[in-house]
Symmetry: C2
Subunit: 140 residues, 2 copies
């Protein structure tokens, strides 16, 4: 049985692009392309680097909210780059993300523990130790 198209593979889990971008920008300014490369390097980041379009989209939104600022930089070589820096508001937002993600991780842990309680995953005897049929108070 293969689950290639099933969300249980994690295909559709959110990649948390914004907090990742903010975390990277907290270490110094970067442009979009470089952000993606940094993410690719840190394989620990959620399922590898997200799509470039997504990174630019996030940057644009975050700039609109005042979390990052950008300026064009022309280097001696290579095309012009748009460099982003994290503002103080962005830093505050990142701090909030940290709290949120810690809670989220704990909740996923709870869910995992709940799933593990079902081990061994043999079919529960019908009418056995499981829950009353259909979840009614009465036995119907």
């Amino acid at each position: 049985m293969d689950f290639n198209d099933c969300p249980c593979t994690g295909r559709n889990l959110t990649k948390l692009v914004k907090p990742m971008v903010m975390a990277l920008l907290a270490q110094g300014q970067l442009h979009g392309y470089a952000l993606q490369q940094e993410m690719e390097e840190k394989a620990s980041f959620i399922q590898g680097a997200p799509d470039l379009s997504g990174i630019y989209r996030s940057l644009k939104e975050m700039e609109g909210q005042g979390y990052v600022e950008s300026s064009w930089v022309t280097c001696a070589s290579g095309p012009a780059k748009r460099c982003f820096t994290l503002t103080n508001e962005g830093r505050a937002c990142l701090a909030q993300w940290r709290e949120t993600l810690a809670v989220y991780r704990d909740q996923i842990n709870e869910l995992l523990r709940f799933i593990d309680e079902l081990n061994p995953p043999e079919a529960p005897a019908p009418g056995g130790p499981g829950r009353a049929k259909c979840g009614c108070a009465e036995n119907c």
Copy 2:
């Protein structure tokens, strides 16, 4: 500063409705309404119970994929209920979810550790120990 409308509050994080539903159904059959109540009880579940519509939608999809089966049950009292049970395929899918979620949790942990490395979150001295300006190889 308040982040009420900011995704950093976790408002928009996925609630993992399907694995939660499957985990609950693994313990015995339930109908949609009862599923929501179970989730509300276990406050540890992701940010409380998800919307009822979402639960029904998930159940419908999962039934189409063969992960759950349903049958109408009429009790002595109360309106008819549509009770769902987890199939063997659903059990396999849940097992896959378990692996996926364990990885996901670890990746979130990595991200959190990465954010924590930035502590204390004082502004890095400009041109200081941070990364080269704009991420170029040269200093531009």
